[in-house]
Symmetry: C2
Amino acid sequence: MLPDLARARAAQPTLLDADRPALLRTLAAALRRAEPEILSANRCDLDAAEQRGTPPPLIDRLLLDRGRLLQVAGSLEEIAALPEPLEQVLACWEHPNGLRIQQVTVPFGLIAVIYESRPNVTVDVAGLALRAGSAAYLRGSTAAARSNRAILAALRSGLAEFGLPEALLAHSCLEDRSDIAALLAARHLVDLLVPRGGAELIRWVVEQAKVPVLETGAGVCHLFLDEDADLEMAKAVVVNAKCQRPGVCNAIETLLVHRACAERLLPAICKELRDRGVELRGDAAVRALFPAARPATEDDWAAEYLDLVLAVRVVSSLEEAVSHINRFGTHHSDGIVTSSPQRGRSFQRSVDSAVVYVNSSTRFTDGAEFGFGAELGISTQKLHARGPVGLAQLVTTQYRVDGSGQVR
Amino acid sequence: MLPDLARARAAQPTLLDADRPALLRTLAAALRRAEPEILSANRCDLDAAEQRGTPPPLIDRLLLDRGRLLQVAGSLEEIAALPEPLEQVLACWEHPNGLRIQQVTVPFGLIAVIYESRPNVTVDVAGLALRAGSAAYLRGSTAAARSNRAILAALRSGLAEFGLPEALLAHSCLEDRSDIAALLAARHLVDLLVPRGGAELIRWVVEQAKVPVLETGAGVCHLFLDEDADLEMAKAVVVNAKCQRPGVCNAIETLLVHRACAERLLPAICKELRDRGVELRGDAAVRALFPAARPATEDDWAAEYLDLVLAVRVVSSLEEAVSHINRFGTHHSDGIVTSSPQRGRSFQRSVDSAVVYVNSSTRFTDGAEFGFGAELGISTQKLHARGPVGLAQLVTTQYRVDGSGQVR
């Protein structure tokens, strides 16, 4: 894989003067033209997955049909239409000696992404990287290998049609992790590495990488119901944050309730959740109010269920809620339901997370909801970008200093 | 060291509501009051260093005297006066459903810095971190251990006087690197790690770290003299970039000269450099024009001399100069001397470095010269901050979303 990686990195400067929005529209057309090849390759991946006994939700993630393919082709056109991310002057000032200093957005160079089975990610990542002026190295899953190869073949034919090197898009999908290990060590070739996938994969990548990593993903998210929370608002927000799509990172995993309102709120909210099929795991105070809840263990506070399961705990104060969230959470998305704007703001300032909500479901932590368009993931780290990572975050900056012979 | 680290991280929220500019002025006063203790501790470090036969330039880096101590105390007051870095609203917009989304600057949490012998760095790092709302872990060198302990004692007495926990400033300085290894692995305690020091230390830290790192420092910087470069400007800029302070990271290590002007420029510039004590190492074309140059080897192109030594090479085009710089440089600071603004801009767009100069010495890559005040270092990476890292770069962001019960 290293030769492909080096070729991709070497090809990147060809993007500097290319009309990248037009390129993305060309890639969208190429993808639509290759529909028969892509769907037939995907059919092979699906057959193999079914033979292996892959569970239906994973089969669904792998599945491409005409509708989904047209949708990802359309997403390339949406990325084409986003505001230009490069050559934006973020700051410009003059040194007393007359030097003009400009801070300008420029490409990373090569963006590598390690991801799991969904083949639409292949298109989104390729589109975002190329639009941001970077080559891309796509490390997909073995389960989607045929689909990804067919997609890449289509995108590369689009690159060639546009007069750009096919090497700009590189790809691998070995069974083991030997190619990932090489990627993690490829300093000076990989400018940015983004792991997308399960918590274990992300942790392994972050701990092993010698190249710069943008950590995304794991979401142990919380809602805290403050002492004066309105019952109807609290119920609607909790139900939405837990039930609307429990398998995603911005769904909540733990509900914290102020002791002062537990008796007033908990029985009704727990009943509503149980009626919607949610398994509740509570501490002693919760179970005293709602005996049908199972006892929660210490492990429940740190669990990312990604399922219709919710840990519930009664706390004595806003400060105790904040401590719990900062200790057990993953610094992704957390919220408070409160009638006090002051307590809402205090909660936001104290919770050390990428997105902190007052009186809203946590489900809005998403590139499209934030108005960023396609997203590469949700950053849970503090370097570079925090929260939804869209096109605007996939660039770096350069200072350009213009003089007339200045010396120190 | 881990208990100290955990205590520092746990103490950080006390900074959120503190008047941090006033805190820094209190620390400056505490430092001035502790002058006798600090200078006497520094005398012990100097005696020990002299007994070990430490070379004079390193002794000078270690030395604190009244003037230097007053200067670093003054730098705390300058950091106090910088624009407030926290709670700045970088963006604010409304979701169609009425949610208000704000992106606000917030503290990292704990900033750890690994550095070498200069004790003034202890003060600058503590001041920048606290002003940015973060606790600091200072991993200094054993050679400066007594000086650093006396400085930390003074700063901690200032924290206590201000009613803040002394634990906000932690420090270690073991002989071996066992404490660094623990620091590199302290995920969830260290929010940002900045290594300052030699290239080998930085490389080791970047490769081993499991916590987020801001890579600073190594500077293999270049100047390229374009075909139509003016002799007098070229000479002044080259001499300044090499000779004014050869031991720093923004001094040049390699001079590239366009073949079309080599005969016109090289003999005069090489003579001037040699008269100023610079050892020249040239390729065959350079030596044909200036036989006193020693032959350069492949190793010279990647060498960071930090001394009065300069590698010199003739190239056939601007493109060849760019390739050389992107291949052998460290993406720090590089420049072109040219009469063509178009070629200058093309050079800036093609060189993959933090700061790219047209018709100026590279020596301006510096927090103070950029108007940022005290700096933590020069970032040579592309994540988060590139170029001089000052107070404004030592914060992260948080999205705060305010609603009235919105759900998806």
